[in-house]
Amino acid sequence: MLEFSIFILLPLLTAGFCYFVKDLRIQYSISLAVAVLHLGLSLLVFLGLYHTQLPTFFSVDSLSKFFLLILSNVYFWVVLVSFSYLKRPVMPKAEEGKKYYFLLINFYLTANSAAMLSNHFGMYWVASEATTLSVAPLIYFYRNEESLEAMWKYLFLVSVGIAFAFIGILLLTLSAKGTGLEGKQLFFWEFVRNAAQLNPIWLKASFIFIFVGLSTKIGIAPMHSGDIDATSNAPSPIAALMSGSLRLTALLGVMRIFLIIRPTTSYEFAKILLIIGALLSLFVAFVFMFKVNNYKRMLAYSSVEHLGLISLGLGVGGLAFIGAMYHAFYNSIAKVILFLTAGNIHRSYKSREVGKVYSVLTRIPKTGWLFLLAFLAISGIPPSGIFFSEIKIFEGILFSDKPYLLAIVLFFLLFIFINMGKIIFNMLYQKGKDEKPQTGTEKFELTHFISIVLLILLASVAIASPEILYKNIISITKDFGMNL
């Protein structure tokens, strides 16, 4: 019961508390305490030092343990930076947004933990819809036209998407008609155990609906547009939270149904669908990197690219699957650094347009260097973890039955790297038109500290490659029945 309280009830109570206590500092302290507890406990659960006993509808398995840790980790850093972020001067209109910030973010933690820990499709659906509801008002933080439009589009598109996922869940029920599962409820593991008996036609339909519906939330092309608008217009910590954890919550749903479909004849079909979605995402990122002129949108497209790579890993299977799991972890960390430093750039230049940002390295050198390092990390330059996870995905593709995919993927990735690099180097090095030569001094802030810690984490986890992480990922792989 303790774990249920800390993972789900406590954040919910804190959200309620934040409604009544208006002082931001108190809201921050208590939210941070909750984040620390959440991170501590999910680490204990992950390390196997704490055995959970959750009520009906909730349970822990290797996959949810792993994703919960990613969520806790991202959430902790985001909350840590939130107060200094909220102290920044904003337009008077946006002051209103601050009032509900901690309330919503705590509610987000409740909903997201519930979604990660759920072992029932219905519960998963309710919780993941609640994550959308908590994040949508946060997108509208700045209270300007762009953020309003982004919020509307995100709320609408994702709600329709999630409604589609619900149809998928109903079709899953239909696929169980006439089997031993009929009359039992929609528990994941019951379905996994009896997957072979399910009706293949309905199961296929169910996979299509769940995958397409949740794609709006994962950001898999062609359903990515709402997600791009939302991530690029949300305040940086929220963008980090969305890219680092919310997309994975939706991916979890797809992985659950993928797990059910595995022992059936529809498995190949599901794999192909995942691979098509992944390649489309890479293609979209490849095309838009040529013309994107807003650096936060660029980062959002980078998320589309990396989630695409993860889906590709899932679809190809084997070693690529292991790579995809590592990639989910490393990508979440790298995205936090990128969005936080991008937030600093936005504050200094008051613009998200690439053309209006110049000489970042001389004007705000600390942020500039960290942004550069984060870019190198996300592009898979060693010793960043992304390098190792991508290599695993590539190796997996090469030794799979579709090695030609590697050529397509590498072609896309190369151009994405070149174009992103071009944009970022222009921002960092290009001189402004009528700019006086100046070397800026920049105070060392919390965002810098967090970025450095996370960069070290990104490299050290990859180099040290902790046994427990490896074992857990292998255990997930075994659950998915992959042969290595």
Binding site: F57, H120, G122, M123, W125, V126, E129, A130, L133, A136, P137, Y140, E145, E146, L148, E149, A150, M151, W152, K153, L155, F156, S159, V160, A163, F166, I167, I169, L170, L171, T173, L174, K177, G178, G183, K184, Q185, L186, N199, I201, W202, D229, S232, N233, F288, K291, V292, N293, N294, R297
Partner: protein, 210 residues
């Protein structure tokens, strides 16, 4: 009984397709809410239980009173023009809808041979899902998009009763709550949109592009 109600549900869909008044959408949402609540109550006519009545009562409250009232309030507050602005005319829209429904009913009939399902509620639910999407695609007003989304949700609900989904009550209530909050948030967003932008149409939202 289920079949009769489902056919009534389909008729409400036809009405929504041909009407050009925003208010009519709200009325249709109310009617659909009542139909769904009656559908849920049928099993309890013979085996009455207080516990079982909670879900239909909540559904009635949310889908017949709260949401339509709220949408009406938004329409009044924002002084939205009463006529919808379609991108295609009703006389083109209606044949498209009828053709889609024929395909859905025929397909459901074929599918029912391999799996046991109630064809009429199943096909009606699916038609509502498709028509909800059409409304979102072919209408310009944002408030009508919200109504389209709700028709889609109603369709899913009917579809759920047709496949006899076994979602526990707590989760059914959770889904209702989620839908209500979505509409509530959309209402707030519409309010803001009316203050920030010129109008309430999808064509006004075009700032975010690459």
């Amino acid at each position: 009984m289920e079949n009769v109600l489902s056919i009534l549900f389909c008729l409400s869909l036809f009405y929504v397709v041909v009407t050009s008044r925003v208010k009519a959408y709200v009325t249709v949402l109310r009617v659909q809410g009542i139909i769904l609540a009656i559908l849920l109550m049928i099993p309890f006519i013979y085996h009455f239980s207080i516990f079982g009545i909670i879900l239909p009562a909540t559904l009635l409250l949310v889908k017949v009173f709260l949401i339509p009232r709220y949408i009406n309030k938004v329409i009044l507050d924002l002084d939205i023009k009463r006529r919808i602005e379609p991108t295609i005319q009703q006389m083109v829209f209606l044949p498209i809808v009828i053709a889609s429904m024929i395909v859905i009913f025929l397909a459901s009939n074929i599918l029912s041979k391999s799996t046991e399902l109630n064809v009429i509620p199943f096909a009606s639910g699916f038609s509502a899902i498709v028509i909800g999407i059409y409304i979102i695609m072919f209408r310009k007003k944002l408030i009508v998009h919200v109504c389209g989304f709700l028709i889609l949700e109603n369709g899913i609900f009917l579809f759920g009763t047709a496949v006899a989904s076994e979602l526990p009550m707590m989760i059914e209530l959770g889904t209702l709550l989620d839908v209500f909050v979505v509409v509530f948030l959309m209402g707030i967003a519409l309010n803001r949109i009316s203050n920030t932008f010129e109008g309430f149409e999808i064509t006004d939202l075009g700032r975010l592009k690459d």
